[in-house]
């Protein structure tokens, strides 16, 4: 992979790696006696490892001449997919552990680092940003090149985006374990990591636009709208929600620019739209490319795609305040949040329906092909969990569901059923293509993965529905004398069986992911090779569409 970079590109890469190493060194030196110093060592190790990796190739001469215009640049995609699968196993493993800790609280080590409060964000960020983020970056590189019929404009920027992003993920995860957090859910990393992410994200956006600028298709394909919205809005959310003042330039600690009610609104504007633009928009980009491709059918409706896209982009941004029903947030904002959450059902179901209708005439493929089945079930779960979300945003429903495990169940119906399944489906679709294999190493393993993932999700979600509703009802049950019937502790002990069930569901899902990782690695190494399919930017005069156009 490294030898595909030109000599000049390798030198620039080396300078960048050394720069990162030096930044790590400065952080380690300046932040002595503070957690930032320990984070500096993490940066130093990451930059140092990449430097060592590059060093032997610096004088290795130029790569074999190739016509860069005639092929796509897929090395970063390949790396990104494998990294994403590793993150999946790590983060889901962490999830099973923290789930087990709620059932058996002694299931930990003696150190402070292994308590629930510190490991929980490793699980959430690991899945969302480690697994989801890498999968999004990798697949977006693939999709934007194919649908634009253009190669990425640079060989270095995609590596910078991918590896820079993973540096952010590693700094974040190692920070949580040490106790570095700003306690904003899904935005826990501290100010220096946040600044680094902005740098990476801006290069990602620039790379996307530059590739689109080279496209040989007059139209920008729908998947790219979604990826573009994902990149742009996540940048907006990230910057606003992470505005903070560091206590000192040599310490990790910072204080949010907002306080109390304004901070709560900003946080859930961010938090809910992380669901919208990180966990929905980007993955809809995957869905709109890989599902029609795998089903070999055009997208059912172009107009539904438009409706869904602008609906999601507009409505979602209002919905965050439904996390703050019955709180000290002004009533009118809560009402707006509820209203828009309900209206959101229209664009959400437009996408889910569009995906399922695309499968008309291809249902026999869904039956036979587990990869396509992953995507189909993902679309179903997308529809289900958006319905549930709109329902839970209704004030009276929210009074019961909020603060309970129902919320956790809802999130996981989306995260496991929608996000993870569409990702696995897309990965199984793209891996044989990228490495030019006849298929995955083991189709049986894909089947196993599918059924493990599905049963794990169902067990998990049902356990959390039950525990959440029971919890909510117990809190508000009165005796005939008009006093509260249950102490808080009663509701806690009632959760135990469900917490055990949840651990089992999560474990099944994790086993599936492990099988997936194994299968991907075996495909890369041992699956029979295939003659190259025609998968390169075609000449402008041939003028064939990258994807069949929708009606």
């Amino acid at each position: 992979m490294i030898m595909k970079l030109t000599g000049a590109e390798r030198q620039t890469a080396l300078i960048l790696c050394i720069a990162v190493t030096l930044v790590g060194l400065v952080m380690a030196a300046a932040g002595q006696g503070d957690l930032m110093g320990m984070q500096g060592w993490v940066v130093l190790a990451y930059g140092g490892a990449l430097t060592l990796l590059l060093m032997p190739y610096i004088d290795a001469g130029e790569p074999a001449k190739e016509d860069r215009e005639a092929s796509y640049y897929d090395d970063p995609t390949k790396a990104g997919i494998i990294i994403a699968m590793f993150w999946a196993v790590i983060a889901m493993g962490m999830g099973v552990w923290v789930a087990a800790m709620l059932a058996w609280p002694e299931l930990r080590f003696d150190g402070a680092w292994s308590s629930f409060g510190r490991l929980r964000p490793v699980h959430t960020s690991g899945v969302i940003f480690g697994f989801g983020g890498n999968a999004l970056i990798a697949t977006s590189f693939h999709v934007m090149q194919r649908t634009s019929r253009a190669r990425m404009p640079s060989q270095l920027t995609p590596w910078f985006v991918l590896l820079g992003y993973n540096l952010f993920c590693i700094v974040a995860a190692s920070g949580y374990v040490m106790g570095v957090t700003q306690s904003k859910e899904y935005a826990e990393p501290e100010w220096y990591a946040d600044i680094w992410l902005v740098v990476v994200w801006v290069s990602y956006f620039a790379l996307y636009l530059r590739t689109l600028a080279r496209r040989k298709e007059p139209h920008i394909y729908v998947a790219n709208w979604y990826y573009l919205a994902f990149i742009l809005v996540v940048a907006m959310l990230h910057i606003v929600n992470n505005l903070a003042v560091p206590a000192s330039w040599t310490g990790a600690k910072s204080y949010s620019a907002f306080s109390g009610v304004q901070d709560a609104m900003t946080q859930w504007w961010y938090g809910h739209n992380a669901v919208a633009f990180f966990l929905t928009s980007g993955f809809l980009g995957m869905l709109y490319y890989f599902l029609p491709k795998r089903a070999e059918r055009p997208i059912y409706s172009y107009r539904l795609s438009i409706l869904s896209f602008w609906g999601i982009t507009f409505f979602y941004m209002w919905a965050g305040s439904h996390h703050l029903h019955y709180t000290a947030l002004p009533h009118w904002v809560q009402t707006l949040g509820m209203t828009f959450s309900i209206m959101l059902l229209v664009p959400s179901w437009a996408s889910a329906g569009n995906a399922l209708m695309t499968l008309n005439g291809a249902w026999h493929k869904v039956r036979d092909d587990a990869t396509l089945r992953f995507m189909m079930v993902a679309a179903v779960f997308y529809g289900l969990s958006t319905f549930e979300g709109s329902f839970m945003a209704i004030r009276p429903v929210n009074s019961l569901s909020h603060y309970t495990d129902w919320t956790i169940g809802h999130v996981h119906a989306g995260a496991m059923g929608w996000v993870a399944l569409i990702t696995f489906g897309s990965i199984y679709a793209v891996v044989p293509l990228l490495w030019q294999r006849k298929g995955m190493y083991s189709w049986k393993a894909v089947e196993w993965h599918f059924w493990l993932a599905l049963s794990g999700t169902v067990i998990y979600v049902f356990a959390m529905w039950n525990s959440g509703v029971i919890q909510g009802l117990m809190w508000r049950t009165y005796t005939e004398a008009g006093t509260l019937r249950y102490a808080f502790l009663d509701s806690m002990t009632a959760m135990h069986p469900y917490y055990v069930a949840r651990t089992i569901g999560g474990l099944l899902f994790l086993i599936g992911a492990c099988i997936g990782l194994w299968n991907v690695l075996m495909t890369v190494r041992h699956a029979p090779a295939q003659a190259t399919e025609r998968d390169h930017p075609s000449l402008p005069e041939t003028n064939e569409p990258a994807l069949p156009a929708a009606e």
């Binding site: 800790m101 709620l102 609280p105 402070a112 308590s115 629930f116 409060g117 929980r120 106790g179 957090t181 636009l209 007059p218 139209h219 709208w225 573009l228 919205a229 742009l232 809005v233 907006m236 606003v240 003042v245 206590a247 000192s248 204080y255 949010s256 620019a257 907002f258 306080s259 109390g260 009610v261 304004q262 901070d263 709560a264 609104m265 946080q267 438009i306 982009t313 507009f314 409505f315 979602y316 941004m317 209002w318 703050l324 019955y326 709180t327 000290a328 947030l329 002004p330 904002v333 828009f340 009074s399 603060y403 309970t404 919320t407 508000r476 509260l484 808080f488 502790l489 806690m492 002990t493």
Partner: protein, 258 residues
């Protein structure tokens, strides 16, 4: 029938589809469109919160966190307590009866960031202050199951032996002042000393603490060990002030919803 009903919308939608057909040929048009469309909701919902006067009530008796309490709050955040405990009593009858008067915006006006939480694996803590003794809090943090056998909370025994880092407290208070907490120069300058003095009621510094933060400030050895300022002191001091920064919620008669 349905066609007839949808006809006006169909024309609007046709127009939109045609416009979009042109828009999607220009990446900058899409980019600007996405930013414009996505900005509206946040503008409408967030910006007014900073300007509308009744967003946050005026609480005359609102007091600031002492340096020790702020250090405790930072430990609370560090250990991820917010993942299992909310600090927001909603305007619901059962919550008001279980935890006390519902939370007002004024109570968290100096909280950077807020800790309202999203999940109650354990109970709400918004009115925890003064509910249990220091001794109970300390023993509970050391070994939760020794005090509450059914508890699933992790043990935080190390807080008892970890010496509190107070050197950075002036910096931390100064940063808080930048974002809007009205700490005085004197409070910032004395932050480190005040943190230690708050655990030593008989020391010379103790007078300074009550002078700067009010007579009602808790000044005692929170972890039962007066010799050493530990992280346990800080966290317990913070837990004991929760819900007691102002008396306003108790003055307003709560009208909780069913």
């Amino acid at each position: 029938m349905l066609d007839k009903l949808l006809k006006p919308f169909k024309r609007a939608f046709d127009f939109q589809a045609r416009t979009h057909y042109k828009t999607e040929r220009h990446s900058m048009a899409l980019t600007i469109g996405i930013i414009a469309v996505a900005s509206v909701g946040g503008m409408v919902e967030i910006a007014p919160l900073f300007t509308i006067d009744d967003t946050v009530e005026t609480a005359e008796d609102m007091r600031l966190y002492t340096p020790l309490e702020q250090a405790g709050r930072d430990i609370y955040i560090r250990e991820g307590c917010y993942a299992c405990h909310s600090q927001m009593i909603r305007t619901l009858r059962d919550e008001v009866e279980r935890y006390g008067p519902y939370s007002l915006a004024a109570e968290s006006q100096y909280d950077h960031p807020m800790l309202w939480g999203s999940k109650r694996t354990g109970p709400d803590l918004a009115r925890l202050g003064g509910k249990y003794s220091d001794d109970w809090q300390t023993r509970h943090l050391i070994d939760p199951r020794a005090v509450v056998p059914e508890s699933i909370m992790p043990s935080y025994a190390f807080l008892q032996t970890d010496v509190l880092e107070t050197a950075s407290l002036p910096d931390r208070l100064a940063a808080l002042r930048v974002v809007g907490v009205p700490y005085t120069d004197e409070q910032i300058a004395n932050a480190s000393a005040d943190a230690a003095a708050q655990t030593l009621p008989d020391s010379d510094g103790a007078g300074g603490v009550s002078e700067r933060y009010g007579e009602a400030t808790n000044i005692r050895a929170f972890d039962g060990n007066p010799g050493l300022v530990t992280e346990m002191d800080a966290l317990v001091a913070y837990l004991q002030i929760l819900g007691r920064l102002t008396d306003l919620p108790h003055q307003i008669e709560p009208e909780a919803e069913e």
